[in-house]
Symmetry: C2
Subunit: 399 residues, 2 copies
């Protein structure tokens, strides 16, 4: 058996980012930047006012004498002249500071009658001014390659003058579920059969992590059918299978793939739920085989498929982001396998987050999985632990 | 001035969920359920094996005598006969337990030669069996109306036999930015002008929170133009404006809207950044007016637009999810306004999350906003606070 960490490292080492495409900024949210964004603009483009008020000379506000209002400069309409001694120009948030002025008298501190502005306070030079280039200088790198674009990043790329961004295209993940006992939901069920939950769940997982899912027809338990389906997946960036990864006589994914010159890595991973995992290549096509059990398939998706999609998407290979959270109930010692315990994280009465493991951990319990929002990681041979101590968790959120 | 909480409560009280549509399960991820999901299936559909092995009678394993292998039952192919005394049937994970058998002898505990299965251990009745309906009973409500569908929920709805789900359609949010000084990125800039960052940033925000953005052409600073644009937004579920919400002579959103019989609520909100906010109705169309400053617009989107989209989407009105996190640097006392301080949250050396406020809090600093990943909330008149104490934060993540 190999460790979770080693399995992930091997998968990540074998994959490379997909090709780059240009997308409009309105489509770039959550995509991964393939090239850094260098600002084309300086922001602010000149010294501008941070408030509504009057552009004046600071020395003129010391005496409190009224100043002569010689014009106005709404944002987008810079004042063409110059503010001389004893003069003021009406300005607004974002207005360019006119030549000659060195400060802003805010309107709350000014009494205005006809064309006279009377300062109620003495103002020092440079007040309420955002300086040219204070936020961004043209030529600055504002976003690095390899960043997943947040809402704020989109705003920043816009401010830097970019209508298009170079991003990695969405990795295409072909999803092949196998088994004589399963049918997609709404299709007629075989005797003793169940509705397949993996195909749609993994499709949603791929979508949530920025990939493009391709749900293939379910393959029956026949090596030929698996082999045909695998051929049909050429052109995808990854073939994802579920089921058939164990050692039973009816576990045919490996048999089917081996008909197609599959360079196989078959691993037993020291983890629970989910022990058997297939990884390898069918020519150029990487193949990741998850367990058929939906809870195991989901946990393996969180630990392995997510990393695979991230590397294909151009993100730097990183381990999942574990957090340290207080435990609300005791947990037993565990064995050689790394446990991923379904759990609920919630804010306790004192405001701190705490995590409660679910009582039932049977890997057949998809409903309990759906009701959980975190996985507690217990590394191999973790000793028993009391409530109130700290454990490592992975948040599940919506994804 | 009104509080942040009161402003949000008023917005939420005025909005109603949009209409319901049926979507295929593959499109339902992250949508909001409009009707509960009642299971059409029982899972497991019968008593099934949790392991690969042999279906036997528990009493037959006590003697250790070999059992006669009378057949096999792969998953999806139930055994037609019955397991009699001294008999065994080969089964696999997910196989229906044949009549007559009451336990599973796992294959690791069986020696098999020809048609004889020799138990290496005595097995009690009921072991390694998942009972019929253990996870889901037909008729159970497995997902409530009003839930945002997670990846695991999609798997659960599939297991419950639903190919389609009733969800609220995505709320259509029309985005209208105003100002003579702005142009969309890549368009020619006016003198002293800047690239508009709000339209695309808010479009991404709407997408991230499950809405459908509609970016309108930028309106010049003329009441007529704002009025025309507002008319064009009819059919949206919410008109979102930026800029023009203040009291300056060039703040024309209110003037433009009032030409169209705008039922206006204009608020000064005791918060920083972002004080002025417009909320009201243009006939049936709710209007939310955010400040023009991108940092203020973003923070107001987090606090108000997000709640608006959630209510329109059919989610129950909830306050943002504040977490309590340790502060890494001291903060000063604040005044009558509730502060939302841009900050960085990260795991400290001891594994606990901690939050560091950014030094520069100028609301013109979009770049600093993009670099932050949390907002620290400081309620009005919060006293000064030392490093190591706990503060409330909102995570920003990608959204």
């Amino acid at each position: 058996m190999i460790s979770v960490e080693e399995a992930r490292a091997r998968i990540v080492a074998d994959l490379k980012p997909v090709a780059v495409e240009m997308v409009g900024l309105a489509q770039a949210y959550h995509r991964v930047l393939a090239r850094p964004v260098i600002s084309r603009l300086t922001v602010p483009p000149s010294d501008v006012s941070a408030m509504d008020g009057y552009a004046v000379r600071a020395v003129d506000t010391d005496s409190g004498k009224p100043l002569r209002l010689i014009g106005e400069a709404p944002a987008g309409h810079p004042f063409a002249g110059e503010v001389g001694p004893g003069e003021a120009v009406r300005i607004f948030t974002g207005s360019t500071i006119p030549n000659g002025a060195d400060t802003v008298l805010i309107q709350e501190n000014a009494s205005v009658a006809a064309d006279l502005v009377e300062p109620a306070a003495s103002v020092r030079a440079g007040l309420h001014i955002r300086w040219k280039g204070q936020d961004i200088q043209a030529g600055d790198q504002v976003l690095p390659a390899g960043a997943r674009l947040s809402v704020r990043d989109i705003g920043l790329a816009a401010a830097a003058g970019h209508p298009w961004l170079a991003v990695y295209r969405r990795p295409r993940i072909a999803i092949l579920c196998t088994g004589d006992e399963i049918a997609l939901p709404g299709e007629p069920l075989p005797a003793g059969g169940i509705a397949n939950s993996n195909a749609l769940m993994l499709s949603a997982f791929v979508t949530a992590h920025g990939g493009e899912p391709l749900v293939m027809p379910i393959a029956r338990d026949a090596a030929d059918e698996v082999a045909q389906a695998a051929l049909a997946a050429k052109g995808a960036d990854l073939l994802l299978t579920t089921g058939g990864a164990s050692v039973g006589a009816y576990d045919l994914v490996r048999q089917g793939l081996s008909q197609q010159c599959f360079a196989l890595d078959f691993w037993k991973i020291a983890m629970r739920p989910g022990k058997p995992l297939i990884f390898g290549r069918l020519g150029d096509l990487p193949v990741l085989g998850l367990p058929g059990n939906p809870v195991s398939a989901y946990v393996c998706a969180v630990l392995f498929l997510r990393s695979a999609i991230e590397v294909l998407s151009g993100l730097p290979p990183e381990s999942p982001g574990f957090e340290t959270v207080r435990l609300a109930a005791p947990m037993r010692a565990n064995d050689v396998r790394e446990d991923y315990v379904r759990a609920i994280i919630a804010q306790s009465a004192d405001g701190e987050m705490q995590v409660t493991p679910l009582q039932v951990q049977d890997s057949g319990m998809l409903r309990a999985l759906a009701g959980s929002n975190a996985l507690i990681r217990r590394v191999p041979f973790s000793p028993a632990i009391e409530a109130g101590r700290y454990v490592e968790i992975l948040r599940l959120d919506h994804s």
